[in-house]
């Protein structure tokens, strides 16, 4: 088992005819992901090394049975593409695009929240890799093996770093999920941790957070109340410069939360072991899984 993407994934890539879109779509296909179609308005009838391109997601779904979308279009077009994928009935939307306006993300999130049948991962995320099954996004899959550690992370490259540390200790992964660090991620730590909790293959959950916001604190509460599997936490930014505060309002809203120490403390209060470096994540995993 795994979460979000697997052998049943039928991928349609929005922006497939762009340079990066083509590169990563084909990369995902080479990994074994079922790449069934792509969307680029105006390019219906073309193909990308055999993968047909359509003007719209609706036609791509109708003609190729796509059930998963990867969004690889420039930021100003990304919200529209996500909404189109949802309107076309796609259940899993993975948005790689970085730099989407925050108010676009807000509209998209609140609109999608009305449709319980759809899951958005990202935007501004590296995607989801289920080793041995499917890769949707830009995670360099060669570093990861099938296994029993589920990883969820706000950061892209940090995810690879942690996965790499785990791999060097012999751990494989059920799935690796980058939820992105944007103001309004489509899925939260809580959403993904819940999936891992329910996934029989996953025996250990690694949650990699960073300073800012309160997503880690909220996840800590959830883990304390609902998660039975062991969880290893990691927080980046212990020595980062303090971010600017947004006026008095920002100070009032965030209070003392948001710092790395506060996040680590919140997780530890719920029984989560928190690593101080990526290397320590794999050391704690060794302890917890008794190797």
């Amino acid at each position: 088992m795994s979460v979000i993407v697997d052998k049943e994934t039928r991928l349609c890539v929005s922006g497939i005819t762009g340079r990066e879109g083509t590169f990563h779509a084909l990369n995902n296909k080479r990994y074994g992901t079922q790449l069934v179609s792509g969307v680029t308005p105006g390019k219906e009838g073309q193909d990308v090394e055999g993968t047909p391109v359509f003007h719209t997601f609706h036609k791509a779904v109708a003609e190729t049975g796509a059930n998963t979308a990867m969004i690889f279009v420039p930021p100003r077009f990304a919200a529209d593409s996500i909404l189109e994928a949802e309107d076309a009935g796609i259940a899993t939307i993975i948005a790689i695009t970085e730099g989407i306006p925050a108010h676009d993300e807000l509209r998209v999130y609140n609109h999608l929240a009305r449709n319980p049948g759809v899951r958005l991962i990202g935007p501004n995320c590296p995607g989801v890799l289920s080793p041995g099954k499917a890769n949707v996004g830009i995670i360099p899959a060669a570093f990861f093996e099938e296994g029993n550690v589920g990883v969820v992370s706000r950061s892209g490259t940090l995810t690879y770093q942690i996965g790499n540390e785990l791999a060097q200790k012999g751990f494989g992964n059920s799935s690796i999920v980058g939820i992105g660090g944007d103001p309004v991620p489509g899925s939260s730590f809580i959403d993904i941790v819940a999936l891992f909790e329910a996934d029989p293959e996953t025996e250990l959950i690694v949650m990699s957070g960073e300073i800012g916001g309160s997503a880690e604190e909220e996840a800590a509460e959830y883990i304390g109340a609902h998660v039975t599997k062991p969880v290893v936490g990691y927080i980046a930014g212990f020595t980062a410069p303090p971010g600017k505060t947004m006026g008095h309002a920002g100070a009032i809203v965030s209070g003392s939360s948001g710092g790395a120490e506060a996040k680590a403390a919140a997780l530890e209060a719920q029984g989560v072991r928190v690593a101080r470096t990526p290397t320590e994540v794999s050391q704690i995993a060794m302890e917890l899984l008794g190797r």
Binding site: E20, H24, R76, I96, E98, G99, I100, P101, A102, H103, D104, L106, R107, Y109, N110, H111, A113, P126, I138, P140, F143, S153, R154, S155, G156, T157, L158, T159, Y160, Q161, N164, G181, P183, V184, S208, E210, I211, G213, S214, A215, E218, A236, G237, F238, T239, A240, P241, K244, M246, G247, H248, A249, G250, A251, I252, V253, R276, T277, P278, T279
Partner: protein, 393 residues
Amino acid sequence: MDLLEYQGKQLFARHGIPVPSGVPARTVDEAVAAAGAVGFPCVVKAQVKIGGRGKAGGIKVAEGPDELKEHAGAILGMDIKGFPVHEIWIEAASTITAEYYASIIFDRSAKAPLIMFSTQGGMDIEAVAEETPELLATLHVDPLIGFQDFQGRRLAYAAGVPPDQVRPLGAFLARLYDVWAAEEAMLVEVNPLIVSGGAIAPGPFGPLYALDAKVTLDDNALFRHPDNAGLRDPSAEDAEEQMARERGLTYVKLDGDIGILGNGAGLVMSTLDVVAQFGGAPANFLDAGGGSKAEAITSAVEVILANQSVEAVLFNIFGGITRCDEVANGLVAAFAQLGDKIMVPFVVRLDGTNDVEGRSILAEARLPNVHTAQTMDEAAERVVGLAQQGAAG
């Protein structure tokens, strides 16, 4: 992007929010002309993107031309918490009966705008929130349907404004929400929002005026707001940060001596942590971003080396959308361009997409004083050692 007070007020005025009349000035002469338009008494206000300018002497009332010249001269060029004052705002003096507080912030946790209002505005709003939270009325707005009249009433009644201000306050908050939504702001804050005791302009807002304006816009949305994009004030930024921004890099200058470049904010933060664990002190945070191309890497090297404190540089790259061969080529190009100007050692760790190609490019280039490392820990340990040698030597 943070706006200056007067830029925020001009934005407010465009959306119909009442603000005192005023004129910006960059010289004492301009200030004199501005005061001519505004009239006396007027207020001279330093325009800096930092709080606490009142306490720092950046806000003064001028009763007449002489006093105006004196204050304008004193404030222009002042340094407030590291921010030099390049511009002042000459504003008609207001008669203040009461100071309220209003703000709308993009609440990431709730995925909705959060409106906060209090009749206890002014300097100590954070203390009000902390000590007497019942005096701070708050609610979230559903962004799909927007701010509703009843929400204005709820805030007004919860905060206890006088009956004749309930409707004006609702109208004021509705316009503030318009600013937040239409301008794609991350924050709009009015502190103080005053109840004026002077002549009241006709209109739906009664005695309410925005006496200050703090607006943070979403940089990612500026392409839809060309007028706002033109408001950026690069003179207020650090020279190296400005250079980085122009090159599309995320750069924050720090106090240490180890230059750091990574791809992805999380990895860079993690790199800072690990370098610190090995006893080093980072000189900067530099995220070369996703899909970093060779030119971006070359630019990044320039930005890092522009900081004279740097004794050694660490490249920590884990390629996803970024390709390690591009990074290696960028580094080679930087050495070709900058040549002898590069006086410090580099430690380079490449993993991920095209890492084999990247490493072999570096190996073939035989760059002077560039070391490679297999792991992040090894790289951090190495660069800390090199920086200590450099500092000692």
